[in-house]
Every structure is written in C-alpha cells, then in structure tokens.
Subunit: 206 residues, 2 copies
Amino acid sequence: MITVALPKGALLKDSIARFKKIGLDFSAFLDSKNRQLQIEDPTGTAKALLVRAQDVPVYVEYGQAQLGIVGYDVLREKTAAVAELVDLQFGHCRMSVAVPANTYKQPLELPPHGRVASKFVHCAREYFHQLDLPVEIIPLYGSVELGPITGMSEAIVDLVSTGRTLQENGLVEIAVLFQSSARAIAHPLSYRLNANNLHDLVEQLR
Amino acid sequence: MITVALPKGALLKDSIARFKKIGLDFSAFLDSKNRQLQIEDPTGTAKALLVRAQDVPVYVEYGQAQLGIVGYDVLREKTAAVAELVDLQFGHCRMSVAVPANTYKQPLELPPHGRVASKFVHCAREYFHQLDLPVEIIPLYGSVELGPITGMSEAIVDLVSTGRTLQENGLVEIAVLFQSSARAIAHPLSYRLNANNLHDLVEQLR
C-alpha cells in the first residue's frame, strides 16, 4: 500500500482536493475533531500521514511515505534527498526580502554586517552570499516581522502570499528570492522502481 | 523602559500571572482576539513581546528584551548567550527517551545506528554521545511520536508532561535526560549594569 505525506497548514485543503480528484479520499484530516495522524483511504488502497510541512521531505526521504506534497520553499530550505516531480500550481507565494517602509530600496543598500531575521536561514544565507553582501542571519521560529519592529534586524526574509502581514507591520518588499508553489515529491528509489505503481499516481496528479 | 519576552504556548498563562504579582499586567496577551505582538503594561513602566518559546532566548541574547521567560528545555537546546537567573517552579516537564511498549527497556538496548526522532536534536545528540551509543538523529518539527509508529525510528527524544500523548501512541519512557521548568533569563550586559533596575525585578520574580 502506498503512503502519502500531507502537510498541515495552508496547503492541506488543496492537497486533499487534488487526491480526491484521482480517487483517494483523505478528507477525514479536514475534520476539526480529528486527532489521528495516520489514516487509510476508504477504498483501502492508500494511507496518509498528516505531518508538519517541514517534516514532509523527511518522511519521504526515509521512505516512510513514497509520495508527499510540500511547498517549494520547504524544499529549498531543507535540501532533502527527494525526487521533485510535479508543480501542482496551488499554494502560490514568494520568498521575499522586506524592510520597514522608507528605509532601503534594495538589498544592496543594507548596511554591511546588517541583520536579517528569518525562518528560512538557509535560503537567506544563500541569497546574501550570492549578492556578496555579508549580513548576520538571525534564526527565528515565528513572527519574523518583530525583527525590524523591535530593531533587532534591518530586514527579514520570509514567505509572502497576500502581503497583508507585511503591510500591517509597516514593511515593504524590496526583492524576491524565488516563487513558490506546492510540489509533489517522491522517495527516489520507490519512484525509480515504480513501487505500487507510483508512476501512474504521479501522472494522474499532473 | 524594560522589555520582557514572553513565550507563546504552555508557559504563557503562568508567566503573565507571575508578572502580575509584581505589578506588571500583560494579560492583554491572553485575550483570544489579541493580534498584537508587542504591548505596554498599563502603568507604562514595561513592555512585553509575545514570541515563540524558541525565540525568547534570541530576543534576550540580542538585548531587544532585557528579561525573558522560557523553559529550561529550550535553553538546553539553543545554548544562547543569556544569563539564567531564576527557576520559576512552574511548567514542570521532563525530556525523555521513549520507545514502543515491549521493545527496549533502556537506551543502551537500542540497536547500534538505530534512529531517534526528535525536535530537540542537540539534546538528543549530546545524550547519546555521552552514552557512547552511535545513533542517527532524525530532526522533526512536530508529532515526533509518528517516528516509531511509521517505523522511521526506534525511539524518540521528547518533552513529557502528563505522558498522555505517549500513552495514546503506545509509547513508554525508558530514560529521562533532564527535568525542565520555566526559567527567568536576562540579557547578560543589562543584568551586569543593572539597567532599568533589572536586579530588583528579578529579585521580585524569585
């Protein structure tokens, strides 16, 4: 039986809808009373794990799930050994540099050894390295916008979808690192061996 | 004005109660409709930041908050340059090794190069290193109990308070790494210089 890793949060609803279209029903995860982290499709042909978005590549890399859905942002940050197969064209957002309004117009204006707060430490470090601009990356787990508000950092690198959070906090985007959307990923060996007809399933998701 | 970093989640209520006892009222954070991450005490003598537990040491280390409350578990995991001052005697829990029932009786029985899933990668690595038992630590962000359930790992290292989550998932504790509780921490330089009478505030919290 195939196992699918689904991400909690923003991508869950669309992920479940996509699997429903190809005949796999994991909508029990959408029930607010659900406490189970592992369910079977009613037809008994597939299982799903409900995990944190950042953990999807882990379960797929270790082969505990043969298939997973996760944002490109997480894949860029974690660089897991998984096969990235399909851009599912939902969950669009972008990884951006933002600063307080009326401060800097572009990243290169940031002071040398300035500070950048981010949940995406790896992406942020890589970006500023490519710009050849030495900055200190401050790793945060949440509410990154507090970095500039409290004066701890000059800028943030964070995911932006509607831009509402930035606006509410007086921040403006000055650069885009990359665009992100939901991706289907697979365990490389399972995909190569076409275990449980994985190829068909991926083709249907496409 | 002094700034205090308060942790979202399990320790928030008790933290706010403790500050209320010494005349600082940050209970606006407990209002479920509150969206602000930064508030002032009604007397105008102190400010509070509401941040993720793991981010409390960051704000205190960088001096954006002179004082913070955070679990000892986070301090052990992050090893931030902060002054650990008071054991506040609430939020008691323990960092434990747990395995599926009827498998291993103690950590040394784990197979060599076995796998241990944990959110507390640093604590877990340090513990097994001290035992001189080579294991692979699998970093997860949530629902660590899925590690043994899916067969991805033989054990987990996680925080346990009531033990209910373990029980519900058929896991049993086989070792305790350390006990944890809420701690008051301070920005080392601010504490040394007694900025804003930080000493008095810490004495009152004691």
